[in-house]
């Protein structure tokens, strides 16, 4: 028992001979309980009753349809970017530049959404999507090209390009694409025809459909096409892939462009559904959080979607806790992080069981 505890195998330590499923369940429960305890201590330190705070966390997210819609809306940008990131991640290409690709995509798509004189949403919105995907893909292609042709490591290039992309964006909305009638630094509002409205009968915007639709598309791409197969092989062992005939250079650029396109798509969806203008605050580090989303979702589109929704519920629940108990937002962020960490631990414990 001691040896198992020492090696982290809690489930094994307390139950010799249990089935794997049971062990997995125990590990998850342990993680949840540990999260509740640690989180409870932190809530108490902040001056809120632990049980009440957790109750509110859940109630805020699930206790009303309003909360559920909000959770879904929070999940949309994370899901779209995250699903996109599963593509390069599976190929072993670390795209840390989704944030910059988000901004560039929002920019390209936003310009179309603001200025293109088209009335019908059925025509305009797809055009904005296309423009956004082009913008994101192009920006990602820079890093892809740098890696494929010049051997520049993509982690550093995409990180640098995040900042550079942001500055490009900020300049463009400060001067050329500024709203002349508004003193605030932002673009004009997107045209009505470009707005993503709420789904009829609900309070969640159509962006959630985009996220949902992407799941089978990307899953098909990665699981059922030669492209997906090649990407997977590349991810496992790039040298072996080359020997086996995979053009890793072209694949690198392609996977970057795909995830860049989706990050850009997330950008325009966010602009058309929530922000309605282009300004410096269209993202809250979505590009980075989406990395967590993709990886926690095991680089699978459906997993990414579910993790995104989970994070969305945490965010909405957290807002509720903050408002009801007036505790600092910082502690809620810490509790959320602890939950995710413990889930990570639980997942590892399951795998080792």
């Amino acid at each position: 028992m001691a040896a198992e505890l020492a090696s982290g195998d809690v489930a094994g330590a307390i139950g010799v001979g249990w089935s794997q499923r049971a062990r997995g369940l125990v590990a998850t429960l342990v993680a949840v309980v540990a999260g509740l305890v640690i989180g409870g201590v932190m809530f108490a330190a902040a001056g809120a009753p632990p049980l009440g705070a957790f109750e509110e966390l859940i109630r805020g997210a699930f206790g009303s349809t309003f909360g559920i819609y909000q959770s879904l809306e929070q999940a949309v940008p994370l899901a779209i970017i995250g699903i996109g990131l599963t593509v390069p991640f599976r190929a072993g290409v670390w795209n840390i530049g989704a944030e910059g690709q988000f901004y560039l995509g929002a920019l390209f798509g936003g310009i179309v959404a603001i200025y293109l004189p088209v009335d019908q949403p059925a025509l305009l919105i797809p055009l904005t999507f296309a423009a956004a995907m082009v913008g994101g893909a192009l920006w990602a292609a820079i890093a892809g090209w740098l890696k494929a042709r010049m051997g520049v490591n993509e982690i550093v290039s995409t990180l640098m390009l995040n900042y550079i992309g942001l500055f490009v964006f900020l300049y463009l909305i400060r001067i050329p694409f500024r709203d002349p009638d508004n003193l605030i630094i932002q673009s004009k509002v997107v045209q009505d025809a470009a707005r993503l409205r709420d789904l009829p009968g609900t309070f969640v915007h159509a962006g959630i459909l985009v996220a949902i639709v992407l799941v089978p598309i990307v899953a098909y791409l990665m699981n059922k096409t030669p492209f997906g197969f090649q990407a997977g092989v590349m991810g496992l062992n790039p040298d072996a892939a080359e020997t086996a005939g995979v053009d890793t250079k072209r694949m690198t650029i392609r996977v970057m462009m795909i995830s860049g396109a989706l990050a850009g798509l997330a950008g325009i969806v966010q602009v058309e559904a929530v922000q309605l203008v282009l300004n410096g605050a269209i993202s809250r580090q979505f590009g980075f959080t989406a990395i967590v989303v993709a990886l926690l979702g095991r680089n699978r589109p459906l997993g990414a979607l579910l993790v995104a929704i989970f994070l969305g519920t945490l965010a909405v629940g957290g807002v509720s806790v903050q408002q009801v108990y007036q505790i600092p937002t910082a502690i809620i962020l810490a509790v959320q992080a602890i939950f995710v960490l413990l889930l990570l631990a639980a997942e590892r414990l399951i795998r080792r069981a």
Binding site: E55, R59, V274, V319, Q322, A330, L333
Partner: protein, 350 residues
């Protein structure tokens, strides 16, 4: 495996939530208003930390002070984030829970405020914007940050205290509030000394004190000896102390941080601003698309020279300062508002 586990987790949480919400009647967190006069319920939404020593902190302190003075009931939240998708859940919850006035304390909240004002017409919304956009709604007001009025006055003092004949400014971003403030320093300084030199640096961030310090050092090395700030001033104040130069506090009164180096502060009386708005809400006077310009003349902006500043201020500059201040208060003069372009292109006559 992971998929199913998450689904199970969500299901479990949902069931628990269902059970909880059934056992617990209405919504939480609302205190019933006490007997007697019903006070306006104000919610203050701050994008960043309430102890940032400037923008957010001043709003927080002003609101708390107003609450203590009995002007209204207050709930606040900080570190919400600058983007709309972080703002909306927070603001919507307040709107649904019957708050009368929701104060959205940054310019980036403008668009979501307009949307939410549509959906919640019975709630009054106040937003820290600049100018009145055309599409402003009935129940939305803008509360200006007329820092430029204060910076104009401060500019006079800067020119009067500068030993090198060159002053400057550091701003986080080139937004109208900062641009007009920076040009305000410039215009005020030129009013006293038309040959004054002036340089400005835009950092590209609001919250990096170490970088601000380096930017301030760069300006000081370039011959500037007093720097005005539109952003977090702590790093600049540190540079001023180190180099024994001058700095102007931003939004809060920062003389206590460096009594000999802070020439003055462009202090913002948020308490007054918020109380003015809340009073209108209480009286039903929250007019459509109103702009609350609680500025120098009303005591919303306060600029006073620091008697402990290390160098004497030229008496002529002090006289000019008093003169301009009096004229602003009497309405005879309005400091120039320069949200774009340069103060050098604007003619100012008192």
């Amino acid at each position: 495996m992971r998929r199913r586990r998450f689904a199970a987790l969500l299901l479990v949480m949902g069931l628990v939530a269902g059970a909880c919400s059934n056992s617990n009647g209405g919504g939480g967190g609302q205190e019933p208003s006490g007997g007697g006069e019903k006070k306006v319920k104000v919610a203050l939404i701050l994008p960043n930390a309430k102890d940032d020593f400037t923008w957010n902190q001043q709003a927080y302190e002003g609101a708390i002070a107003a609450e203590k003075a009995g002007s209204f009931d207050l709930d606040w939240v900080d570190n919400v984030g600058q983007d709309a998708s972080s703002f909306i859940p927070v603001a919507e919850r307040y709107a649904q829970e019957g708050y009368d006035l929701i104060i959205a304390h940054t310019f980036d909240y403008g668009e979501p405020v307009k949307q939410l004002a549509d959906q919640y017409p019975d709630v009054d919304w106040a937003w820290a914007g600049s100018g009145i956009p055309d599409d402003l709604k009935q129940n939305v007001a803008v509360y200006e940050q007329p820092f430029y009025e204060g910076s104009f006055l401060a500019g006079i003092l800067m020119a009067g205290a500068s030993k090198t004949g060159k002053v400057g400014a550091i701003a986080g971003f080139d937004i109208p509030a900062c641009h007009s403030m920076v040009e305000g320093f410039h215009a005020g300084a030129m009013l006293f000394n038309k040959d004054i030199g002036f340089e400005a640096t835009y950092l590209g961030t609001w919250f990096d004190p170490a970088k601000e310090k380096e930017a301030a050092l760069a300006l000081y090395d370039a011959g500037v000896d007093i720097i005005g700030v539109c952003g977090t001033p702590t790093g600049v104040i540190e540079a001023a102390k180190e180099q024994n130069k001058g700095v102007i506090g931003y939004v809060n009164e920062q003389e206590s941080a460096a009594p000999q180096n802070v020439l003055t502060s462009v202090a913002w009386n948020t308490q007054l601003t918020f109380e003015t708005m809340a009073a209108d809400v209480a009286d039903g006077q929250f007019e459509p698309a109103k702009s609350y310009h609680v500025g120098l003349a009303d005591g919303g902006i306060v600029v006073e020279p620091n008697p402990q500043y290390k160098d004497p201020i030229d008496q002529a500059a002090l006289d000019l300062y008093h003169d301009v201040l009096a004229k602003v208060k009497s309405g005879a003069f309005e400091p120039p508002y320069i949200p774009e372009g340069s103060a050098e292109d604007v003619k100012v006559t008192i």
